[in-house]
């Protein structure tokens, strides 16, 4: 473990920016809301003092909407491809739950050899994770083995010791190289620092709301009865918020905007929308909201996730809980599932 303070971190960020790297880090939007944003100068980011960003940083790689083709500009009837621009980037301050989310999206893409913007963007990314000292009420990463500190997938991970002072954990070869390069801005951690880290971690774990029903509910996923889905379906407002805020949701739709001249765009979709499962001829594979919720909960929690992705695809970030206006969220679902 190395030790670094926030001033040194800003210097390193400055060096990244000077080299032409794009840096994405949390920025305060006001009213206590934080979001990942492109940082233009090293004073702009803030990585501690809040639990997590409103949206997971997956949108840096998987844009909410993006143009994949243009038509009617050169030749009639042909959609020309638009290639995504790829920056050499640094992702600073990503939380362990969202990092695990990115790794799960990687695994999802790795099943097939598809040429997609996400995959291209994801390649050149230096990840500096920030281990969480303080959970929110809705956080349950301790139950899904995805936090409050990351165990994989980072180049560096910062562990707060006190405000503005972090232990820096190197997690990759690239991370080692860069740590060597900036060695004069860091020092070696002492035994006392490591003891303090252990104490901090214990304290953090103690702050999580106890949710014994989460693991029990996940174990029962196959047995959950239709009445549970119906009950939650009746409460669901079909807003799609759970999908849009989810660090592992990847579904998208494609549409042409414009008639004779326009663009083919790819944009986030939600399995909670009626149109998601619609087929030709007014058929719908999932005509009721209960079956759509079942589709979503199984996508995240079914046992086949472990076979294919090595784990369930919920990372416990809790965003779908606080955004759900109908209280039809995964927390209530797992409570019900645990009673099955």
């Amino acid at each position: 473990m190395l030790k670094i303070n926030v001033q040194a971190l800003r210097k390193i960020t400055g060096a990244f920016l000077e080299e032409g790297k794009t840096v994405y880090a949390p920025r305060h939007l006001g009213m206590g809301d934080f979001a990942f944003d492109r940082i233009e100068n090293p004073d702009e980011f803030q990585i501690e003092g809040f639990v997590n960003t409103l949206l997971p940083p997956k949108e840096i790689f998987f844009r909410q909407m993006e143009t994949i083709g243009r038509f009617g500009w050169k030749e009639e009837g042909l959609c020309e491809d638009v290639e995504p621009e790829i920056e050499d980037k640094v992702l600073l301050g990503i939380r362990p739950c969202d990092l695990e989310g990115l790794l799960l999206i990687d695994a999802f893409y790795d099943r097939v050899d598809a040429d997609m913007p996400y995959k291209r963007r994801r390649k050149k990314t230096f990840i500096i994770a920030y281990a969480c000292p303080e959970p929110a009420d809705t956080c349950f990463c301790v139950e899904t083995d995805s936090g409050p500190w990351a165990k994989r997938g980072f180049d560096w991970q910062l562990h707060g010791l006190e405000e503005g002072i972090y232990l820096l954990e190197v997690g990759s070869e690239k991370g080692r190289e860069l740590a060597d390069r900036f060695a004069d801005l860091m020092e070696k951690a002492h035994d006392g620092d490591l003891e303090l880290l252990e104490a901090k971690r214990k304290e953090t774990l103690g702050k999580f709301k106890k949710r014994p029903y989460i693991k029990r509910g996940i174990g029962n996923i196959k047995k959950v009865g239709e009445e549970v889905y119906r009950y939650l379906g009746d409460r669901c407002f079909r807003c799609g918020g759970c999908n849009y805020l989810c660090p592992t949701c990847t579904c998208y739709n494609v549409a042409d905007i414009g008639t004779r001249r326009g663009e083919r765009v790819l944009f986030w979709d939600s399995c909670q929308f009626e149109g998601y499962s619609r087929l030709a001829g007014d058929l719908n594979l999932r005509p009721d909201q209960g079956s759509r919720l079942k589709f979503r909960f199984e996508c995240k929690l079914a046992e086949w996730n472990t076979e294919t992705y090595g784990r369930i695809r919920c990372t416990g970030c809790g965003r779908c809980i606080y955004t759900c206006i109908g209280d039809a969220d995964i927390d209530l679902f797992l409570k019900k599932a645990s009673e099955t």
Partner: protein, 267 residues
């Protein structure tokens, strides 16, 4: 450079000919800019700029030359396709999906309901050219106005048996009347060894599968071609997921034994 078909990048294809097949159903014979080899049961994504893209199975057999798509007017993209004329252009990408197993290992029983006859037509004409099989084909539709390929199917004799049936006949109809399983019960013998290939509306699947099981087929020898409205066709967009499978890459053809628990596809 080899084109990566695992992306949204489409080729251009010219519509060479359009044929009226049945009420609201036309066949489009298209020639892509590059030759696109495919297997019966695979599908392509067709697009019209400014309207959108949708998946369509190929109705022609690989040896038949032009790619033939038999398309029912039912939504935005298909309505726009129906307005096109010969000589106009389409976007095309594919082929996608697994296709049908091509060796029936005995008797081949092909069952197509409505527009579901399109993908099994590809298989039927492929099998007729490739081998010497005992072959049954049941082609069902709502009414005589909706039956597909009748003129192409009636010339076969010998070991190829074709049964046309409609739910409601009219006075000019010379063939069977009743849902497709009625004809299957009536004509299809017990099958010791063979493969069944089924495509049709979800409501047809369960009844057809039951009849096939009664006739001696094993669950793993009954193949169903499923429909889903995929947006990517290479396993990413998510729309065609069923459990841990994706209709676009793991299907669209599945043995019944693999999907019998997925109720939404077998309404």
């Amino acid at each position: 450079m080899k084109r990566n078909r695992m992306s949204h990048k489409a080729l251009k294809a010219e519509i060479v000919e359009i044929k009226d097949e049945a009420e609201d159903i036309k066949s489009f014979f298209v020639r892509p800019d590059e030759e696109l080899e495919f297997l019966p049961g695979q599908f392509f994504m067709l697009s019209i700029c400014g309207v959108g893209e949708a998946p369509f199975s190929v109705a022609s057999a690989p040896h038949e030359g032009l790619l033939r798509f038999t398309i029912r007017k039912s939504g935005k993209v298909t309505s726009a396709l129906h307005r096109l004329r010969a000589g106009e252009l389409l976007g095309i990408r594919g082929p996608y999906g697994n296709g049908f197993p091509l060796d029936p290992g005995g008797t081949a029983v092909i069952i197509g309901g409505g527009i579901g006859m399109a993908p099994v037509r590809s298989l039927l004409f492929h099998l007729l050219k490739k081998g010497d099989f005992d072959l049954w084909a049941f082609n069902g539709a709502r009414s005589p106005r909706h039956i597909l390929y009748a003129d192409e199917l009636l010339g076969f004799k010998g070991r190829t048996k074709i049964v046309l049936t409609v739910d409601r006949a009219d006075p000019g109809w010379k063939y069977e009347e009743g849902v497709i399983t009625v004809s299957m019960e009536k004509y299809l013998p017990k099958i010791e060894k063979g493969t069944a290939y089924v495509c049709g509306p979800p409501v047809m699947f369960r009844h057809v599968v039951k009849t096939l099981l009664d006739k001696g087929f094993r669950e793993e020898n009954i193949y169903l071609s499923l429909e889903a409205h995929m947006k990517c066709a290479f396993g990413i967009c998510g729309h065609c997921r069923i459990g841990n499978k994706f209709v676009c890459v793991d299907g669209p053809v599945f043995p019944y034994s693999e999907i019998k628990d997925y109720e939404e596809f077998l309404a």
